[in-house]
Subunit: 372 residues, 2 copies
Amino acid sequence: MKIGLLGFGVVGRGVYDITASRDDMQVAKVVCLEDIQLPDAEVTRDFQKVLNDETIDTVVEAMGGLHPAYEFVRSAIEAGKNIVTSNKALVATFYDDLLPLAAEKGVAFRCTAAVGGGIGWLSELERVRRVEEVSMVGGIMNGTCNYILDSMTRLGLDYGEALRQAQSLGYAEANPSTDVDGIDTWHKLILSANVAFGVSLEKASVPAAGISRISAGDIANFKANGYTCKLVSHGTQKDGSYTAYVQPTLFPQGALEAAVPTNFNLITLDGEVSGRQSFYGQGAGRYPTAYNVVQDCVSILAGKGFYCPYGKKVSADNSVKLRYYVRGGDNWIAENAAETWGDAVVTNPVAVSEMHAWLKNNPAAFIAAIAE
Amino acid sequence: MKIGLLGFGVVGRGVYDITASRDDMQVAKVVCLEDIQLPDAEVTRDFQKVLNDETIDTVVEAMGGLHPAYEFVRSAIEAGKNIVTSNKALVATFYDDLLPLAAEKGVAFRCTAAVGGGIGWLSELERVRRVEEVSMVGGIMNGTCNYILDSMTRLGLDYGEALRQAQSLGYAEANPSTDVDGIDTWHKLILSANVAFGVSLEKASVPAAGISRISAGDIANFKANGYTCKLVSHGTQKDGSYTAYVQPTLFPQGALEAAVPTNFNLITLDGEVSGRQSFYGQGAGRYPTAYNVVQDCVSILAGKGFYCPYGKKVSADNSVKLRYYVRGGDNWIAENAAETWGDAVVTNPVAVSEMHAWLKNNPAAFIAAIAE
């Protein structure tokens, strides 16, 4: 396999390092803006050089961002090249465009590193589907949020301190919105559900609530009631009906989710016959992420193109009712309140869709579902 | 694929059920002692009928036990049939005999369900090895022991009550020795290390300590010091040197291992580039186990024969030193004691091999390593 590598940042450099010792694949050209020299690959700023190189059969996209990643990936598919990417935003955003195009052109399109970093999550969904239906996917998919919540819970930091610490360790961006507002988890949920259920989820039907409004007082309320807060995704299918949402969620202190430390991920599926399975590992970082990019290249060499066929468009129906912790409520929340926890309330069961609609109009509030 | 199914107990029946709806495989003959009738498979007591049926390409062994499972599997390999089994005792015991023979005869030999039941553990090790070296494998591999230890810890039961409850739920055998003495975990560790490291571990070099001597007082000592006890396996490779042992181990109460409930498993690997990964799921039971048997059949159809080449014979060197909780010690333990916990002591670091040799001569004692 001859690889055209787009981007030479955290992930791109890792892919170059891991492939360097392999006989079955070789990074032939690297497209990046930095002035670097590599002993065995041509470095260029010009993507056309990759596109026009007929010896390059596979493009590894490790640039991040939507543009020009989308245009580059699309032209590469048009040119008949396989695609491997770790870019969850790209794949989730252009799923309905890129996946059918890749199928039409007969090229492989894999993105295992896009969800769970070093965890073989999407590839395991691919394996699971050979034997059974998956009824649920979800879990802790964002290491930045887990790091912040874990630091607040174990070390007693407030949100701002925990965020700054995550930033100084390189776990959070200068502008942390994609992580802390749940957008990264939202992309990963959409991808996971699409693969697990063989569908294409309508993105507008999947709400996401983040953690940026959480306070040290909230954490104290959770501890006092025996809970630990995690940002989790949740998607289900049953009899042709779907749910999908991202929200802070309270787990009993002895639960597996509650024990996930620092920047780790824990992603779970419910299989029809295999039961509940969870996968724990490094959800980000140079080598874990690059590792699954290289795994995808090996899978392509072994003849695997996609995780599942491109599926029909479906919407999530989030009418399922959950109890919520809400701080910063109004009259509607007061009407639905069942308990008081410090300066917040715990509601009676409320439809997920209703609660997220309410949050949109009350963006200063903090909500967390209580895991059943 | 035409399957000859040996055994129609818990696992065999599950395999029959799951394959019934598939087009790519069919149970053609079932060998069992019960008088049953099946709509689409011939039931016989005579294994020769499977052996002599040239249309049967794959034998699924779900009888359990060493004999006649060994003789049947061996003759099936000799006759050129692929083997799928969930029998960890069989594969661990006859690894050096059956694996080279299968390779020589060019048949597939898979046993994913033998470790972790419904967890795709051995198959994930197979995938991991495509890209990186594995430096550590291990974890909670026996659901019966986890159920007993969890009931003692969460419900305050004593060992006898917890065992009886496990027996009444079908999690433990009438004679529970294989589980509670660590033999089942020992088989699973040997298999896991063989696949992960590409070796064949000398079984006599791998010691196992079990949980049958644990008391409610021990559990109270662990709680008082912030620990939870689990029966775990541990195997490592580094620079051509190996460790491998099974023993009760104390984890801090917030650790992931400590949160594993009831009869679940949690199995972990350390990868050179992917980092630490853990796999959580149902380690036993009809459908989880049968699920991975069927996965192996699908893998064989996809051209996968074994997880790794049969590797060289190696011995574990368990000179690594750990601190141990010991109740029922003697002078040697007293000489090595660092702390007192109730009626027990915690030692200074002692070589694993030395502690297990001591335990052999002091079988009424209970030991548990303290996780580093």
